[in-house]
Amino acid sequence: MATDVLVSSLVAGLMIGMVLSLVALGLTIIFGVMDIVNFAHGEFLMVGMYTGLLVAQGTGMEPLMTLPIAAVVGFVLGVMCYFFFVKFLLRGPMVAQLLGTFGLMLFLRNLALLFFGSEDRAIHHGLLVGKSLSIGMGVMIPATKLAAAALSVASFGCVWLFINRSKTGKALQATALNAQGARYVGIPTDRMNGLAWGIGGATVTIAGALLVNFWAVNPYVGLLFTMLAFTIVALGGFGSVPGAFVAGLVVGIITELPGLWDFVSISLDLRWMSKVPMTSFKYTWVYLAYFVIMLVSPRGLFGWKR
């Protein structure tokens, strides 16, 4: 029957969605705190993927154990980007901010091209590779994806707790709400901005180190994830952390639309539907979704910034 197509694409969509919400988390924090859109976000993810890959292959370490290393690399990268570069962008007009982070994207992407070459690379070893879990109805879940989804949710939860429960997190929120006011009450807003970039970098590189277990990495992988993250952040509301989580799941399911399309065409037995090359449009729907969301509700689901 066709139900297995439906269930497996829904499950796959939800699982990739959980990873995607971790990808988008950094973008939404950075935007929320300082109103800057980071075009290099997907390139940070690529850095995380290469870190995970190279450490795992170089040391023969279990790929999932590379997460802390990736997080440290991402944190340092984010903080450096802020203090050596983004800080200067904030004074300029919006055009300069947009193109500036775009320059950062070109820089990181082509540095990777220079060092690692353009071929696809993937991890082929580790505890979970090749194993899968059956959840009945003939649906198999690859263990790597399941672990990635679970660890993404766990990391997301940690960041959420940090932002809402710790004093530093509260200061971060205050900076996002009103930077000038935060400065008056003695919060070092410059350091908070740096911290936002550090957290943004660390979360997205963790997501990258998780993704590389089942997604081949090449220097051009970033743009797709940047656009996915933009869509998630737009849907969830720019600057909203819970919004990013819910929207991540929704966008994950949108990327699995070809599977749902197959389900409809099989169960209703419609010939013309199966001829449409849906898999070529896998991500087109995401871009369209961004466009529609922005027009219908520019604030997104949980947004508070305009």
């Binding site: 962008l89 007009p93 055009v95 320059g103 466009f291």
Partner: protein, 334 residues
């Protein structure tokens, strides 16, 4: 008549600028007479093409302050219209170019109407999204050759063919695009003096104030967007007959959109000369870096690394571009 007079009215520039500009125009006119390599010629043609793209972007991005990062979709529309019409129905370039412009302008109205309800970052990302949707569509559409793209073979049309613009020597292409280039400067100069141009600058400086003065902000932006689109689409058509290989990846990728925006931004957005200055620096830099470091030294990607660093430095240190530096130096010397 007044529009024509405005187009030729350069009197608001200092005399010194005009003399320099006239000298440079003369150099451009006689450049092919000097001995040059074919690589230099190709770079010059690229420079002229990207100056015109940049001037188009500058109309909406520089004078209007609306950061558009989706211009590549109009390059694609222009290039594909010309290529498809030439290959399928043997339509000459001089007919297919205006048709391509009409299609592009029509499309710009369709998406411009909703797009301009957005502002700032939201607008910029939405333009990227529309451009990527169109690119994905062209990659699977059989009429336009899908991902393989289209190829115009010059053997079928005995060159030089002035109607279809198929030549063997680059010098013909050079003079055609040079003509476009001078025409584009005149059109932008008209735009600067026009009512629309003033409205747009008012919108850039203070949108709420512009609205309260009775300017139809939304409509003014859409009209300027259409003007910018026409520029880009015309050169896109030229791209088709000049490059002769049209693929979605080459004509419609985000990199092209950003490169276009960068020309104007590096030179100085919102000034007539900005995009030309930007292109005259970036295009030779790009092609020579690629030639020397990429191809000869085998360092693939280093050209774009340096490129990225330049973008980062310019946007962090001098967001008003080279023209901004020139103007500041002038003010100091006065």
């Amino acid at each position: 008549m007044e529009a024509l007079r405005n187009a030729f009215d350069f009197s608001d520039f200092p005399k010194k600028d005009l003399v320099v500009a006239a000298c440079l125009a003369a150099v451009l006119l006689i450049f092919p007479l000097f001995p040059h390599s074919s690589f230099a010629m190709a770079t010059m043609i690229q420079f002229l093409m990207f100056s015109i793209y940049g001037m188009g972007w500058n109309a909406i991005g520089g004078y209007g302050g609306q950061v558009d990062l989706g211009k590549a979709q109009y390059v694609g529309i222009g290039a594909y219209t010309t290529a498809v019409m030439l290959l399928r129905w043997d339509v000459p370039f001089w007919l297919s170019m205006p048709i391509g412009m009409a299609i592009a302008v029509g499309w710009s109205f369709v998406i411009g109407y909703p797009l301009f309800k957005l502002k700032g970052h939201y607008f910029a990302i939405a333009t990227i999204a529309t451009s990527l949707v169109l690119k994905d569509l062209f990659e699977v559409w059989d009429l336009v050759g899908a991902a393989r793209g289209l190829h115009i073979s010059p053997a079928k049309y005995p060159p030089p063919d002035f109607l279809r613009l198929i030549f063997r020597e680059d010098i013909y292409y050079y003079y055609v695009i040079l003509g476009f280039f001078f025409l584009a400067i005149l059109v932008i100069n008209w735009f600067r003096h026009s009512r629309l141009g003033f409205q747009l600058r008012a919108i850039r400086d203070n949108e709420d104030l512009a609205r309260s003065l009775g300017i139809n902000v939304h409509w003014a932006k859409i009209k300027t967007y259409a003007l910018a689109t026409a520029f880009v689409s015309a050169v896109g058509s030229f791209h088709a007959v000049y490059i002769k290989n049209i693929e979605p990846e080459d004509t419609m990728s985000l990199d092209i959109s950003v490169l276009i925006a960068l020309m104007a931004m590096l030179g100085g957005a919102g000034s007539l000369w900005g995009p030309i200055i930007g292109a005259s620096i970036l295009i030779p830099l790009k092609s020579y870096l690629k030639e020397w470091l990429g191809a000869k030294a085998g360092l693939i990607g280093i050209d774009l690394v340096i490129y990225g660093v330049i973008i980062m430095l310019v946007s962090a240190l001098e967001p008003r571009g080279i023209w901004g530096i020139v103007e500041r130096a002038r003010r100091r010397s006065r």
